[in-house]
Symmetry: C2
Subunit: 169 residues, 2 copies
DNA sequence: TCCATATTGTAAGTATGCTGTCAATCGAGA
DNA sequence: TCTCGATTGACAGCATACTTACAATATGGA
């Protein structure tokens, strides 16, 4: 623990959790893009597609809560997925404000085909660690994300996905 | 390990290393910004300032290697730091292509003042873990970033910082 | 019913982070 | 010395990620 009078050096930057998480995010995205380059799909777009397949007819606001992405950002993500014809937006019968999201056949096919590449990418991220260390890191990471859920600007609300099925509560 | 025929569920997304690192990056940035909001400085701008203070007269390309940020992106970061008068760009006497970067008095003062907030932010990121787990996670994270250095689009090249002092060898 | 409040999608503005490309410049070898 | 290839900073373009704001719409309570 550095004292107040220590000059901050590059070493303090390199060992800061925030810096390390930034680097790992860069590395994880680079590996994902490399493994999936045949499909022209980003990690965010992939997560969105999986979520829409799991929750057909979800709206954009609920989708943002389910994958913990910013609501504003998600607008353009959805636009791009629609432009590539992987999803469809249909007006909600009950609420004129919302548009409901569905996978197209093309989107479902893409999702089926890309899975091996995505799994290869996820495996590669931790590959260079010893198997026991992989398990330890993944467990601590999962725990830390969960403990800090409320600290992020867009906390994960997985249960929100159920609401579009009709509010019985 | 899911088999080829398993449907991918949200759970597979939530437990993927790439997703977890993205979440932690979001969380770490949110905590940094919150702790440092009095200073109007982003994590990237902070790392740049520290690096320029450690290596006065460094050029933009070498700076990008030292903090592993993209060279194109760094251009606008430097612009913003210069607009806020935290750094100065001076033409290099030996090389008409490069501009050398220096902290201003104002930048040095800011760096001095902001350190407690930055340290508080970094501590907060891991705070909710048990002390032993913090050490374990940090060690594994450091190891993993190092092992995957070449996988990122902009590998860290800390030793590049020395080159601007004159090539003796 | 009417109205204050909330929600939804969208947009504008800022900041990373990456892909390219380009002109100016540099450096090394023929 | 001349020229070719590399380097440098700048720019354009795309994709996240956040902020605020806004209009349309919904909802709950007086």
């Amino acid at each position: 623990m550095p004292s107040k009078s220590d000059p901050i050096t590059m070493d303090a930057v390199y060992t800061a959790p925030g810096y390390l998480f930034r680097r790992m995010q860069q590395i994880a995205v680079a590996i994902f893009v490399e493994e999936c380059k045949a499909y022209d799909l980003t990690p965010v777009q992939y997560a969105s597609l999986v979520s829409i397949r799991t929750h057909p007819g979800i709206d954009a606001t609920r989708l943002s809560a389910v994958i913990a992405f910013d609501r504003s950002t998600l607008g353009s993500v959805i636009e791009r997925l629609e432009a590539k014809a992987y999803i469809e937006r249909k007006p909600s019968p009950g609420d004129k404000r919302t548009k409901l999201l569905y996978l197209t056949k093309s989107g479902a096919a893409l999702l089926r085909d890309i899975i091996p590449s995505v799994e290869r990418a996820q495996a590669r991220i931790l590959q260079r660690l010893k198997p026991a260390d992989r398990k330890t890191l993944l467990a601590l990471l999962t725990q830390l994300v969960d403990l800090n859920n409320e600290a992020s600007r867009v906390p994960l609300r997985a249960e929100d996905a159920l609401e579009h099925l009709g509010r019985s509560g």
